[in-house]
Symmetry: C2
Subunit: 260 residues, 2 copies
């Protein structure tokens, strides 16, 4: 029942898609969002720099907003920095994980495509995820250079974004892909455009809802662990009343005097 | 998800029985208890004075502890002051109601006894409650002068309390009562003694658990009504980022600049 806010951050505006999923599932929670636009995109940056930015943003959210949980609403930041964040912070840290497992479970053609940034695809975290599932389907990964930048410029539907996206998905379509995983929180913003390119029959999988559910379950465990306190006051003799109350309750209770 | 405390008050220590039921049902909630021992017992006081004390205590809890809900853990104060409290306060106010309805539902002999203070028994609220149920069973009411005082002095088991209690319950037992309602939050503290006097076959009904459940349901409605807020920051150009985010989310979003 802790009413501190939840911190959500991304290199830019992609994390807003995750924020929306959190607001839908947890409408009573207050949120603080940071878009690290000055340092966007993270996808092709040096890993050490990304870790430092993530720590800086996390500490800002903790110190200035007293957040009770942190959502790393960026696949690249999750892949590169989540271990360090979990090690250094005392609050729950929830990260993004490309929806490979549900994609592999749902595919009929046996071919799954993954669109993500280069940094996500070459991270150890992603390699492990791939290793765990690639015996169950053929998984085609595709780094999407320039796509986050186009989205951050608001180019969600124009011809240049369409061309860029087509370049990345056409090879998958040629291989009879029937399930495409959006491995970057920016990509749901161009889902309408992607839908036009791939048709109605292809499954498009994003991660926001799963992350919101994981957040909810973490908050519930925190609540379950947090015990309420009790304070006792009396207008009478605090010592006498405290002694009697301790006798009634079978444990020590301290009463404080009430003005009148 | 409001983590302000819940206020609980009684003329003395009887409300601790209600506090325990609340702690059992809502272990994560913080509580502030006031025992108005200097003015106890309320049972035989002037109604106007009781209303004034209740308002004073409620305002103390609101101003000093920012309570989100108030439990009037005293049957007399509920009977006399709850209307005024609900009228003057902006928070939910939960009061005690003697468990006449469940008692009438459960009795086999058709005879129900009610132990309460004189002020509770002669209140309009109690008369209405009695009117609603006395066609379904014979209800014997008994004002228990001196019983709250004995309990407040810690006399939960001694011979004098036993004699006093016997005087009040013997007439009921003579009339084949099989269900006794504890119409005062102090009385659960002498339930072990009462049990010895009435035997194992008589039902003893108190109100704390029902009040805790009602409180829980009120808090859930409050939570359901409370909508979380969202704040947005960026390390980039706040106006530009805000405009783009507004476009993405289809509603106006204001971003603030982040130091670095």
């Amino acid at each position: 029942m802790n009413n501190h806010p939840i911190g959500v951050f991304d290199s830019g505006l992609g994390g807003l898609t995750v924020l929306q999923d959190i607001q839908t599932l947890l409408p009573h929670e207050s949120l603080v969002y940071i878009a690290d636009s000055a340092y966007a995109p993270y996808g092709e940056k040096d890993a050490g720099d990304i870790v430092n930015r993530c720590l800086y943003i996390a500490n800002t959210l903790i110190q200035q907003h007293k957040i009770k949980a942190l959502v790393v609403a960026c696949n690249t930041a999750t892949a590169v920095a989540i271990h360090t964040l979990r090690e250094k912070l005392d609050i729950p840290v929830i990260g993004m994980e490309p929806a490979i497992k549900p994609a592999v479970d749902i595919t009929s053609s046996g071919v799954v495509g993954v669109l993500a940034t280069e940094n996500t695809l070459k991270s150890d975290k992603f390699s492990n995820l791939l290793d765990a599932h690639q015996h169950k389907a053929r998984i085609i990964t595709q780094p999407c250079f320039g796509l986050v930048e186009a989205i951050e410029q608001g180019e969600l539907e124009g011809e240049s974004t369409r061309q860029l996206l087509l370049k990345y998905v056409q090879p998958m379509l040629d291989e009879a892909v029937d399930t495409i995983v959006l491995g970057c929180t920016h990509y749901p913003l161009i889902e309408p455009l992607l839908r036009k390119l791939v048709g109605e029959q292809v499954h498009i999988m994003s991660t926001g809802v799963a992350v919101a559910k994981q957040l909810k379950s973490q908050l519930q465990s925190m609540d379950a662990g947090a015990k309420g306190t009790a304070l006792f006051y009396t207008s009478g003799d605090a010592t006498k009343v405290g002694d009697l109350a301790s006798k009634f309750l079978n444990h020590k209770v301290d009463f404080q005097g009430l003005g009148v």
